[in-house]
Amino acid sequence: MNTLYPSFLTALDLVAGLDPALWSIVRRSLAVSATACALSFGAGLALGAWLGVARFRGRGVVLVLLNTLLALPSVVVGLLVYLLLSRSGPLGWLGWLFSFQAMVLAQAVLVLPVVTALTRQTVEDAERAYGEQLQSLGAGRLLRSLLLAWDTRLALFTVLVAAFGRAISEVGAVMIVGGNVDGFTRVMTTAIALETSKGDLPLALALGMVLLAVVLALHGSVALLQRWAVRRDAAAGAAALTLATGAAA
């Protein structure tokens, strides 16, 4: 309790004073997670949308496995990617271990099941409700998956934010494959773990504040976007009624 208050004040100073060491870690963290999410979102969206409308033998088993992967511990992902990228591993020739690319790969693997499973659920719900109508217009499965994914884009934006939140807040995978090398692979979560163990609470607290602020900003932006969409739709609906009433009169 005696160290908390002064540590907190110092942490605020670090954030407000744009401490170069702190902000370099924050920038790296954001870059790693954003790149990982961009990669996994492309693949996960396509795969999830297809799974949402596809019907094939063994689909139930695939979905159970996919949902199981949602609970994949990040340290296990870190270990698997480490084994892949280690010198004797199948991807060792890339020379990516303890690099930015290794951390991106680990986080992409970590969030891919999240994006795929949530997209699958969103598109499957839409398919159940409206797929038959699109089918009656002549849309095949592939086209339906694309149209329904596009039509549920607001919900899928929430999926993207959830995936980014999972990526930026994980520590195990980037610690194992990144190595927490100062100035190269140190990100917010690994830095918090290290600084706490060293007893440098102000920097750990400052990073924690930034991490929370990033997650808060993301979820806040989703809430604002949804609110804006609801208001825009309501206004457009009222305008349509006015137009229709005017035309009838």
Binding site: E132, Q133, L137, L147, R153, A234
Partner: protein, 247 residues
């Protein structure tokens, strides 16, 4: 493509559909002839929607067969139409594009179709923001644009308020028999569209149908011309249903 009056478009023979233990349709024989306006009536769960889905090829048969006796274009309108979160023009154009029209041409034809249902002023409006009646009119524009010769309608007005119900019913009447109805925003002068529709509204059935099928537990218990159905003798189940519905 002009179809000769009286030519059968679709023929169902001994049609049956089973969902697990539930027999949704059983032994249904039905021929749909060009120019007919067939109403399907019956209680909830009697098989009306399943029959329409079978006729449109959305539901495979468990027994019997569906024969397409003459090549034709057909479309289906649902109780709650699905419009994409896009402009009404895009929503109408989508149906044409999916049937092979170039996108630019599809959008131009979509405008004409929207004008036909009196919604050209809302061409750029997000379809999802329209009222239920307006959405159903956009859906009607979408199927009208396809120039379908057979239109299947699954309770097209049941989720609408009375005013919207009248508007949509008038449009359906004009699509089905443009020569008979000369009022409203739809312009007459196009070929009549053969229609098969389900409804709980017996007044609507009297206004729109030329032939009535009464279904109960997946079986057709009565198949009569409209005037005979409402004025002649009926099987007891159908008589009780009509009596209950008209009370």
């Amino acid at each position: 493509m002009a179809l000769a009056a009286g030519a059968p478009l679709l023929a169902l023979t001994g049609a049956g559909v089973r969902f697990g233990r539930l027999q949704a349709l059983a032994g249904v024989d039905l021929q749909v002839h060009a120019g007919e306006r067939i109403a399907l009536i019956g209680a909830n769960g009697s098989g009306k929607s399943t029959l329409l889905r079978v006729l449109h090829g959305l539901q495979p048969l468990s027994a019997g067969k569906l024969a397409c006796a003459a090549p034709h274009r057909q479309a289906m309108l649902f109780q709650r139409p699905y419009l994409l979160r896009a402009s009404t023009q895009t929503n109408v154009a989508l149906g044409l594009w999916l049937r092979g029209h170039a996108w630019r041409e599809a959008r131009a034809r979509a405008l004409t179709a929207l004008a036909r249902v009196g919604l050209e002023a809302l061409a750029h409006q997000n379809g999802r923001t329209l009222s239920g009646g307006q959405q159903q009119r956009v859906a009607l524009a979408r199927v009208w644009a396809l120039q379908a010769q057979l239109l299947l309608l699954d309770e097209p007005t049941s989720s609408l308020d009375p005013h919207a119900k009248r508007e949509v019913e008038a449009l359906i009447a004009q699509l089905a028999d443009p020569g008979a109805v000369q009022t409203g925003s739809v312009q007459p002068g196009t070929a009549p569209v053969t229609t098969v529709f389900s409804s709980h509204n017996l007044g609507q059935v009297k206004r729109l149908a030329t032939r009535v099928l009464y279904l109960e537990q997946g079986r057709v218990l009565a198949d009569l011309p409209m005037h005979e159905f409402f004025n002649g003798p009926l099987p007891q189940a159908a008589r009780l249903f009509v009596k209950g519905e008209t009370l």
